[in-house]
C-alpha cells in the first residue's frame, strides 16, 4: 500500500476567485503580509500493490483526464509513502 498525492492548481495566469476571497479576508482578520493566495485541490489516492512506473503512468492518465481540467489547471503527482514502492 502506498499513497499517491495529486495536487491540482489553477494555472498561474488563470483568475482564482476563491484564492482572492481568502486573500481579501486576511487583513480583516489581522493577518498581514500575505500578498497573494492561490487555492487548489489535493487528492490522496491509496494505491493497491506497488507504485511502479506503470501505476504512476495510470495515475498520470487519470489525473490528466479526470482530476484536473488541463485547459485551466496544472497538476503534480508525488508518492507519499514509499515503503513498498519501487524506487
Amino acid at each position: 500500500m502506498a499513497r499517491v498525492v495529486v495536487d491540482v492548481m489553477l494555472k498561474p495566469e488563470i483568475l482564482d476567485p476563491q484564492g482572492q476571497a481568502v486573500q481579501r479576508a486576511l487583513p480583516r482578520l489581522g493577518f498581514d503580509g500575505i500578498s497573494d493566495v492561490r487555492q487548489g485541490k489535493r487528492f490522496e489516492l491509496e494505491v493497491d500493490g506497488p507504485v511502479d512506473e506503470a501505476a504512476l503512468a495510470r495515475i498520470h492518465d487519470l489525473a490528466e483526464s479526470f482530476l484536473a481540467n488541463t485547459v485551466i489547471e496544472d497538476f503534480t503527482i508525488r508518492v507519499e509513502e514509499v515503503a513498498e514502492a519501487v524506487k
Binding site: L10, K11, P12, E13, I14, L15, D16, P17, Q20, A21, R24, N69, V71, I72, D74
Partner: protein, 752 residues
C-alpha cells in the same frame, strides 16, 4: 540578456524597418499597410495590438457591416425605440415611464474550449452590456445548440455549458427564463452558446457610452487585469521581454460572478447619483476597445497611463494589458469634482477603482507606459473606421439540389399504428423531448418577479408590482429551415419568436439577433449570411419590430464543414398586466381546442423529416407575415379579454408536439378530431407557420369565434381538453403516462 528598448512612438518613427508580427496577430497585408498609412509610420507594438484586435472580425464586423446596414435602412417607424442600434444595447419604451434594454450575444468558441467558464463569462459579458446602459438586469435567456445528442463530445460540452450558465446566473441572482436547446450534428465542433439579458430602468436613467469634456477622468473599476483571453498579443510580448512568462498564453477567461454582482450595484449607485458622463464595459478586446470607443464616441481626445492599471500579474506587457479580456471590469468617465464620490462608492462595494487617464481637448488617444508614449492614434480609426469588406457571395451550387430533394415526397406512415409510433418517436427525440433536465438547473424564480419561464412559449417578468406591467422575451432559430432557404429561414425565426411572445399575451415590440454562421471567406456561407440579413431586415420592417442590436458570430466551422446558417432571433414584448398572461398548459377539462391558421403539406426541414427519415431537403414552410401579425393580434386580444385559458404556438414538431406539451404540463389529456380536408398525418406533423392551438372555455366560444371571423383569421375546432390520454379519434390513443415517460426520459438518459 537585457530588455529590448520600449517600443514608443518615437522609437517606432526612428526604426521604420522593424518587422512586426502583423500576420500572426491576424491582420492581412493590406490591413497592415493601411495602419502604416493612417499613422504615417510603422505602428508601435501596442498600437499594433490595438489595431489587430479591434479590426478583427469579432470587433469590427468587417465582413458583415455592409449587410447589417439594412437593419438601420429598413428600420420600421417605431415610437418604442429610445436608443437604437450601435450602442451597447438598444433601449425600448414599454410604457409607464419604464424602458427596457435587451441583447443577445454569442460566446461560442470559448464555450467549446472550456464549457463551464466559456458559458459563464458569456452570461457575465451580456449582463455588463445591460448595466452599461444604466439598467438593472432582471433576467437572462440562453439559446444553445450542440452536436448530436449521443456524441461523446456533447457529453463533455453540454453539462459544462449548462452548469456554467446556471452557476454564474444563480450567483448573480438573475432568473433564467428562456432560450432553447437544439442538437444537430452540424454543431459538433462548433456548439453555439448564445446568451441574452434584459434590464429595466426609468426613461431618465438611460446612459450612453461616450467621453466628452476635457479634464474628465477615466476610471477603470472592477477586477484586476490579468492574462485572460490574450490572443496573439503573446507574440508581441515575447518580442518585448526576454524573461520567461508564468506559462504559455492565451489563457481561458474565468468569471467571478460575485465580483460582477458588486459591479452591478456599484455602477447603478453611481448612475443614481449622476456621477457618470460615459461608460463602457470591457469585453472582447478589453481596454483597447473601451478606451478607443469611449474616446471616439466623445470628442476624441484621451490620455491614459497604463502603469496605473491594477494588475493581477505584474509580468504583463503593455500590449497584453491592452488586449487582456479579464472579466468583470468597466470603464467610466467622470467629472473631476465627482471622482472622489465615485471612488467612495466603489470602496463601499469593495470594488477596486483607479483613475487611469483623462479626456483631453485634442482628438488623439495617447497611451503612456513607463513614461514613454506607446500609443498615439486617432481613436476613430481604431474603433469605427476599420476595414470593410464586400466579400464575394454566391448561391451555392448545391442549393437547388437540396431544395429539389422534397421532404413532402418522403414515405409517410401507412397505418394508424405507424402514425402512433412516429408520434412517440417524435416527442421522445432529443430536439422535441422535454429539456427540463437542463433548464431545471437554472434558477427561474429568484427575485420573485418571474411570471413565465421554460417550457412556456416565452419568458415573462413583472417589472411593476403595482400595475402588473411586464415584459416577455422569446428566442428562436431554426438552422434546418435556414439551410434550405436562408432568406425565409431567418424570417421564420423572427416569425416564431414574434408568435411565441404574442402567444403568452404580450405585444411584440423589438428584436435583437445573434447571427451564427460559418466562414465569411466562403462565398456560399457569405450568401447565406447576406440572404438571412436581407430576410430578417425585410421581415422586421413588415412586422414593425426594429432590430435594436445584436451580434454576429462567423467562422463557426471546422475545416470545410460550416454549421447550418443559424440566425437566432430574440423578440421582446410588453404586457400591461401579467395576470392576463396565457400559459401553455391545459387548465380545465371540457375546454374547446381551436387551431388558428392554415395547415398545408409542409415538411421541408421539419422535425418529422429529421426524426423519422434523417432527412433535410425541400423548402421550409411558407412565410406570411401579415398572417403572423393578425394571429398575434388575436392572441393578445383573446388573452386580454379572458377568452382563452391556454395557448401554444405551433412550430417544429407541428400540432401533435404542441398538444402533447400542453397536455403533459397541465396533466390533462385531449380528444382530437382530424378536420375535414386534412389527412391525419398532415394535421399532426405539418409545420406550417402562423398557427397556434388555443383552449377556449365554453362560455367564451361564441365571442372567440366571432372575433376570429370578424378579423378574417381561419379557425378550426379540433377537439376538447379531456381525460388522461391524447386521443386522435379514428387513429390512436396514447396515455399521458406513456407520453410523459417518452418525452421526459430522453435527455436524462442521454446525459447520464
Amino acid at each position: 540578456m537585457s530588455r529590448t528598448p520600449l517600443d514608443t512612438v518615437e522609437h517606432a518613427a526612428a526604426t521604420p524597418d522593424v518587422e512586426l508580427p502583423w500576420a500572426e496577430l491576424g491582420l492581412k497585408k493590406d490591413e497592415y499597410e493601411r495602419v502604416v498609412e493612417i499613422l504615417g509610420r510603422r505602428p508601435t507594438g501596442a498600437e499594433l495590438a490595438m489595431y489587430s484586435v479591434m479590426w478583427s472580425e469579432h470587433c469590427s464586423y468587417k465582413s458583415s457591416k455592409v449587410h447589417l446596414r439594412q437593419f438601420g435602412e429598413k428600420a420600421p417607424e417605431s415610437d418604442a425605440m429610445l436608443v437604437g442600434i450601435g450602442e451597447n444595447a438598444g433601449v425600448v419604451d414599454v410604457g409607464q415611464g419604464y424602458a427596457v434594454t435587451f441583447k443577445v450575444e454569442s460566446h461560442n468558441h470559448p464555450s467549446y474550449v472550456e464549457p463551464y467558464q466559456g458559458a459563464a463569462t458569456g452570461v457575465g459579458g451580456i449582463v455588463r452590456d445591460i448595466i452599461a446602459m444604466g439598467a438593472r438586469p432582471v433576467a437572462v435567456v440562453d439559446p444553445l445548440r450542440f452536436g448530436a445528442a449521443d456524441h461523446p463530445d456533447t457529453k463533455r460540452v453540454l453539462p459544462g455549458v449548462v452548469a456554467g450558465i446556471g452557476g454564474y446566473g444563480n450567483c448573480l441572482g438573475l432568473p433564467n427564463i428562456g432560450g432553447e436547446v437544439v442538437f444537430d450534428a452540424c454543431y459538433q465542433g462548433n456548439p453555439l452558446v448564445n446568451a441574452g439579458a434584459i434590464g429595466v430602468m426609468r426613461h431618465e436613467d438611460i446612459h450612453l457610452a461616450k467621453a466628452s469634456g476635457a479634464g474628465n477622468k477615466v476610471i477603470l473599476y472592477g477586477a484586476r487585469t490579468g492574462g485572460d483571453g490574450i490572443g496573439g498579443a503573446s507574440i508581441l510580448a515575447s518580442e518585448t521581454f526576454d524573461d520567461a512568462k508564468p506559462s504559455k498564453r492565451p489563457a481561458v477567461q474565468v468569471g467571478d460572478p460575485f465580483q460582477e454582482k458588486l459591479l452591478i450595484e456599484c455602477t447603478l449607485e453611481a448612475f443614481r447619483e449622476k456621477l457618470v458622463v460615459g461608460i463602457q464595459d470591457l469585453g472582447a478586446a478589453g481596454l483597447s476597445c473601451a478606451t478607443s470607443e469611449l474616446a471616439s464616441n466623445g470628442s476624441g481626445g484621451m490620455r491614459v497611463t497604463l502603469d496605473d492599471v491594477p494588475l493581477r500579474d505584474s509580468t504583463l506587457s503593455p500590449e497584453e494589458i491592452l488586449m487582456s479580456e479579464s472579466q468583470e471590469r468597466m470603464c467610466a468617465v467622470v467629472e473631476p469634482e465627482k471622482v472622489d464620490r465615485f471612488l467612495e462608492i466603489c470602496e463601499k462595494w469593495d470594488v477596486i477603482a483607479t483613475v487611469i487617464g483623462e479626456v483631453t481637448d485634442g482628438d488623439r488617444l495617447e497611451i503612456y507606459w513607463h513614461g514613454g508614449k506607446i500609443v498615439d492614434v486617432d481613436p476613430r480609426t481604431v474603433a469605427h473606421e476599420g476595414p470593410v469588406y464586400e466579400r464575394p457571395y454566391a448561391r451555392p451550387s448545391w442549393q437547388d439540389e437540396l431544395q429539389a430533394d422534397d421532404a413532402n415526397k418522403l414515405p409517410r406512415p401507412a397505418t394508424s399504428e405507424e402514425l402512433k409510433d412516429q408520434v412517440l418517436k417524435l416527442v421522445g427525440s432529443p430536439n422535441q423531448a422535454s429539456k427540463s433536465w437542463i433548464t431545471s438547473q437554472y434558477d427561474h424564480f429568484v427575485q420573485g418577479n418571474t411570471v413565465l419561464a421554460q417550457p412556456e412559449d416565452s419568458g415573462m417578468i413583472r417589472i411593476d408590482e403595482e400595475t402588473g406591467l411586464g415584459v416577455a422575451i422569446a428566442t428562436d432559430g431554426n438552422g434546418r429551415y435556414a439551410k434550405l432557404d436562408p432568406y425565409h429561414g431567418a424570417q421564420l425565426a423572427l416569425a416564431e419568436a414574434y408568435r411565441n411572445v404574442a402567444t403568452t399575451g404580450a405585444k411584440p415590440l423589438a428584436v435583437s439577433d445573434c447571427l451564427n454562421f460559418g466562414s465569411p471567406e466562403d462565398p456560399a456561407v457569405m450568401w447565406q449570411f447576406a440572404e438571412a440579413v436581407r430576410g430578417l431586415a425585410d421581415a422586421c420592417q413588415q412586422l414593425g419590430t426594429p432590430v435594436t442590436g445584436g451580434n454576429v458570430s462567423l467562422y463557426n466551422q471546422t475545416g470545410e464543414a460550416a454549421i447550418h446558417p443559424t440566425p437566432v432571433v430574440a423578440v421582446l414584448g410588453v404586457i400591461d398586466d401579467v395576470a392576463r398572461r396565457t400559459p401553455v398548459a391545459f387548465q380545465e377539462e371540457g375546454q374547446l381546442l381551436y387551431l388558428l391558421g392554415d395547415t398545408r403539406e409542409e415538411f421541408g426541414g421539419s422535425a418529422w423529416s429529421q426524426v423519422v427519415h434523417d432527412h433535410l431537403g425541400g423548402l421550409p414552410p411558407q412565410v406570411d407575415l401579415e398572417r403572423e401579425r393578425l394571429l398575434a393580434e388575436i392572441l393578445i386580444s383573446a388573452s386580454r379579454d379572458g377568452m382563452i385559458d391556454s395557448a401554444h404556438d405551433l412550430s417544429d414538431g407541428g400540432l401533435i408536439q404542441a398538444v402533447v406539451e400542453s397536455a403533459l404540463l397541465g396533466g390533462k389529456g385531449a380528444r382530437l378530431i382530424v378536420p375535414d380536408g386534412l389527412d391525419a398525418f398532415t394535421f399532426l406533423f405539418s409545420e406550417s407557420a402562423g398557427r397556434a392551438v388555443v383552449a377556449v372555455p365554453r362560455s367564451e366560444e361564441v365571442r372567440f369565434n366571432d372575433m376570429c371571423g370578424a378579423r378574417g383569421l381561419p379557425v378550426t375546432r379540433i377537439g376538447v381538453v379531456d381525460g388522461d390520454t391524447v386521443d386522435v379519434q379514428g387513429e390512436f390513443a396514447l396515455s399521458l403516462s406513456e407520453l410523459r415517460e417518452t418525452h421526459e426520459g430522453t435527455i436524462p438518459a442521454l446525459l447520464k
